[in-house]
């Protein structure tokens, strides 16, 4: 329609403004009285020509404008903040893949119905570079410029906490798939839970209890050493919670060492840990740091078992550690080898689309999207407040990572965890831990 109008306009303007054949003949005849004004038009002719041009153009604009206002498909936008660049690109890539899979599956099935109207879902993905300031900036952009109805992500707590603050201030629903730091859903000033922030995973206090219980119970360890990144939110809270719970269960933390994000040399801290003679070493680090630390530890002759947090779950972990994490244990959100039918369906779909087995970030993002779609369907209107209320009211959602329901008044779900072990370079399920 637009094209046809433009072609008509082009012809019209050409016809109006090109000199007529009569004018050309006049030129060749070189009439004396018009020899110095050949090609020039009389004032009246000029005015008429201008007026006709104006008519044609305004008609074109009116027609094109009308065309654009013709009713189109209704679209609802969901924002996704993922760590595509920076320290943990594997996390961001997993999350984005799962989010895109969820949206594609939904749109293929006809989209979503909210309050009787049919909508197509559009995903607006932004990169936060695994940095807190960038997280806040893109959250702002998604809320104010792109006008998304809700946000999924960021994954790492260092980005999720600032983004959650922005979402809460702007009364927009944000659900983080993977952030375990309790601060994400909590208003740190008042201690009350945030109203608009939810998560799809368990939190650090639960994780600390699970690990401490596993280490003292199943591994029978009494002395633990801890090495963590003091500049990153999730490892810091996990380290401190682990120490509290481990000591409550009768263990003793014999070394509590720190490093800062970006450090490469851990030899001094590892030497200190080695001289404290622990039974196990707790390493709540992201996969890029684990590789370096574990390798340096083994090089220094440290043979103790390493214990990890849920941040270990990336498939890049084994590649980056070159065998130094063999036999280590860590907590995870789900295990592919004990998958439920819902999980198996998701794993198959993900494998078909991306050629890789989905990790826990992907599974949790898929569940976060699922929860969001569930809330959208139940919402009274396609508005942020209505969606948020619908999310808080979810009584039970059968997700890939288990049954999800939110504790009343809080954005934290009740979830169980799994303990995995690195065996022959693969992640193998060891045991479940129910809250």
């Amino acid at each position: 329609m637009k094209g046809r109008v433009l072609i008509a306009v082009a012809f019209g303007l050409l016809a109006l403004n090109c000199p007529s054949r009569a004018g050309k003949l006049q030129f060749y005849n070189t009439r004396m009285d018009q020899s110095d004004s050949v090609g020039q038009q009389s004032p009246m002719k000029k005015q008429l020509s201008l007026f006709l041009n104006f008519l044609v153009l305004s008609a074109a604009i009116a027609l094109i404008g009308c065309g654009a206002r013709a009713p189109k498909e209704q679209v609802i936008k969901i924002g996704a903040i993922v760590e595509l660049t920076g320290d943990m690109p594997a996390v961001g890539a997993s999350s984005r893949n799962a989010a895109e899979l969820a949206v594609a599956t939904l749109n293929r099935a006809g989209g979503i119905t909210i309050a009787g109207k049919q909508y197509r879902v559009e995903l607006v993905t932004e990169d936060n570079g695994a940095k807190p300031d960038q997280s806040a900036a893109v959250a702002n952009k998604l809320i104010t410029q792109d006008e998304v109805i809700a946000i999924v992500g960021p994954n790492a707590s260092l980005g999720a906490i600032p983004a959650a603050e922005i979402a809460e201030a702007n009364r927009t629903l944000l659900i983080t798939p993977w952030s375990t730091n309790p601060k994400t859903t909590m208003n740190t000033a008042s201690g009350a839970p945030k109203q608009y922030v939810f998560r799809a995973c368990f939190t650090d206090p639960f994780e600390g209890r699970v690990l401490a219980g596993f280490i003292t119970g199943q591994l029978g360890a009494k002395r633990a050493a801890v090495l963590y990144d003091v500049a990153s939110e999730a490892p810091k809270s996990q380290a401190e919670l682990f120490r509290q719970t481990f000591e409550k269960l009768g263990g003793s933390v014999v070394a509590f060492e720190t490093y800062t994000t970006g450090d490469r040399d851990f030899s001094a801290q590892l030497t200190k840990i080695q001289s404290a003679k622990p039974d196990v070493i707790f390493l709540p680090a992201y996969y890029n740091d684990v590789g370096l630390i574990a390798q340096q530890a083994r090089r220094q002759g440290i043979t103790q078992t390493l214990i990890g947090s849920d941040a270990w779950s990336s498939p890049e972990l084994v590649k980056m550690s070159q065998g130094s994490v063999e036999g280590s244990y860590f907590v995870n959100h789900y295990a592919t080898d004990i998958a439920t039918p819902t999980a198996r369906e998701f794993i198959a779909a993900y494998q078909q689309k991306y050629g890789k087995t989905p990790d826990d970030v992907a599974a949790l993002t898929y569940d976060a999207m699922g929860l969001l779609f569930h809330a959208l369907k139940a919402a009274a209107a396609p508005e942020r407040q209505a969606v948020r209320d619908a999310m808080a009211a979810i009584a039970g959602y059968p997700g890939v990572t288990g049954d999800i329901r939110f504790v009343p008044g809080s954005g934290d779900p009740v979830k169980s965890a799994v303990i995995m072990q690195v065996k022959s370079g693969q992640f193998a399920w060891v045991t479940n831990a129910v809250p």
Partner: protein, 295 residues
């Protein structure tokens, strides 16, 4: 907290490894300053490019360690000469500030060029099989041994070149008096290029060894390491080769000892404060001598 002698020996080994890598980079800063009175702020990024060249050689060519090291050193040396010819030579007679700005610009260019190819941190495959020996409680890894001994060898070779070969004599002569040396028939431009080549080649070697010890590399890793090596060179006496080495080992030692005694967040704060104090007490560095400008 009383620790055994074994513990401190272990920490000393850690410090030696770190200091060796800093020394190789600090030498580049010292040499260029000595010969051109110019701080080559792009040197830290030459180190970073060296690490990436090592990564490329290891993943694409899959050659044994010695060949990879030689290729990296040669390529880095070539890069150093290229930078000198394109960026610094045209500004030899310009105000000092222009040369410094250019150096910073070259550094930024190298960082962002690498970023364009490798936006994510890369993992360097292991080039050497590591063996750890337990010597009376102290764990010595073959990697540590190689890094320390290789660096020392390179430094001794450099010392020999500077003190016993004609090229070295020419380098030292130019650092003493740049105007009259060409009158003696010394090809100044060639000697300057050779200096840059050696400095960059050593940075390339440092990059290889860094990749061995800390196999995760990213385009911004040269910034902090470069600044620390520069400070090490200044503390030791910028312009002197022995000074650069001494300063680097002091820096490595202080870094390790600070982390051994305090939480690691204080590391950079304490290290830089100590070095600032050292400079205030002895402004020309440990081995530097005041440059007298005769009117």
């Amino acid at each position: 907290m009383t620790q055994s002698g074994v513990y401190w020996l272990q920490q000393i080994l850690n410090a030696l490894q770190l200091g060796s890598i800093y020394a190789l980079i600090a030498l580049g800063y010292s040499m260029v300053y000595g010969i051109l009175t110019m701080i080559n702020f792009a040197h830290g990024d030459v180190f970073m490019v060296g690490a990436f060249i090592c990564f490329l050689a290891a993943t694409l060519l899959k050659l044994p360690f010695v060949l990879t090291l030689l290729i990296t050193m040669t390529a880095s040396a070539g890069l150093g000469v290229l930078i000198e010819r394109l960026a610094y030579k045209p500004l030899r007679n310009a105000p000092h500030v222009s040369a410094i700005i250019t150096a910073l610009g070259v550094g930024l260019f190298l960082e962002n060029l690498t970023l364009a190819f490798y936006p994510y941190p890369q993992h360097v495959p292991p080039l050497l099989h590591n063996v750890t020996w337990q010597l009376g409680g102290v764990a010595l890894s073959s990697l540590q041994l190689i890094v320390i001994s290789l660096s020392l060898t390179l430094m001794l070779v450099l010392d020999y070149v500077v003190r016993r070969t004609p090229v070295g004599v020419a380098m030292r002569a130019i650092s003493w008096d740049k105007t009259s040396v060409p009158l003696m028939g010394v090809p100044v431009n060639l000697i300057i290029s050779i200096t840059f080549a050696i400095g960059a080649g050593l940075a390339g070697a440092a990059g290889t060894m860094y990749s061995l010890a800390y196999p995760v590399i990213d385009p911004y890793m040269g910034i902090m390491v470069g600044w620390k090596a520069f400070i090490a060179a200044v503390v030791g006496g910028i312009g002197t080769i022995r000074g650069a080495v001494i300063g680097a080992f002091i820096l490595g030692g202080v870094e390790i000892m600070v982390v051994a005694l305090l939480p690691s967040t204080y590391r950079d704060l304490v290290v830089f404060s100590l070095l600032l104090t050292l400079i205030v007490i002895r402004p020309h560095g440990i081995l530097g001598s005041p440059r007298v400008q005769k009117v």
